[in-house]
Subunit: 110 residues, 2 copies
DNA sequence: TCGTATGATTGCAATATTGCGATTAACTTT
DNA sequence: AAAGTTAATCGCAATATTGCAATCATACGA
């Protein structure tokens, strides 16, 4: 039906899924990698860097902001974007834990 | 138009996006966490563990297998699933690198 | 061989996502 | 104030995803 049954999963599972879903699009990965490359936060040059229209970029930025992956602060009539350390800290931790557990069980597995 | 313009992004960006998109669903997170909890690979009890129909679970498993997050081996008339260490190694590395870079630039940012 | 069990596939309906042109809102500059 | 700049929002069309019942394919046991 196209409707994800979020009510049947734990809050944590829904949270991590939402975060990863927001990252699961090449345009949004490109946005993040561009914000990384620039040594400081980026004000407005994202549209010219990406092969997408202004409305589309704005929407992707909104999604990333909604899940807390980037922060945006208004700076005059431009907006200044940068990455939120906490989100990546959380993701790194999540995958580190999984990896540790997976390595443990590799021996008695297929 | 609902059509992601993958051709405008790098192969790496598309790859990581595909991997993260596959993880961006609570049912698939639940599958992974269940495979983790069981100390060995899991044969068939996934459907009874999840609040989803058999056809739906099978489809989620297929998506996870397509991007290399899980491996499945046929074992008689059951199928045995387990996590693929390489995928999580890759993801952990990806986020570790981002986090390191983000921490560097926190000083001169918004 | 025939029934049973397991899991994949098909086909469908409902909903979500993507992308963009057009417009709007808010601020700057002249 | 008028004109320009920047980014958010709206509304739409095209496509993708989600979930499931029904069916199919394969392997197992009697």
């Amino acid at each position: 039906m196209g409707l994800t049954k979020t009510e049947n999963f734990t809050e944590k599972q829904n949270d991590i899924a939402k975060l990863l879903k927001a990252l699961g699009h090449p345009a949004r990965i490109a946005i993040i990698e561009h914000l990384l490359k620039m040594k400081t936060c980026v004000c407005g040059d994202l549209v010219s860097e990406l092969p997408l229209a202004q409305a589309t970029v704005s929407q992707h930025l909104k999604e990333l902001k909604n899940v807390g992956i980037i922060k945006g602060t208004v700076e005059g009539n431009a907006v200044c974007y940068c990455l939120d350390e906490n989100a990546f800290d959380y993701l790194k931790g999540y995958f580190s834990n999984i990896l540790a557990d997976v390595k443990c069980q590799q021996s008695n597995c297929c």
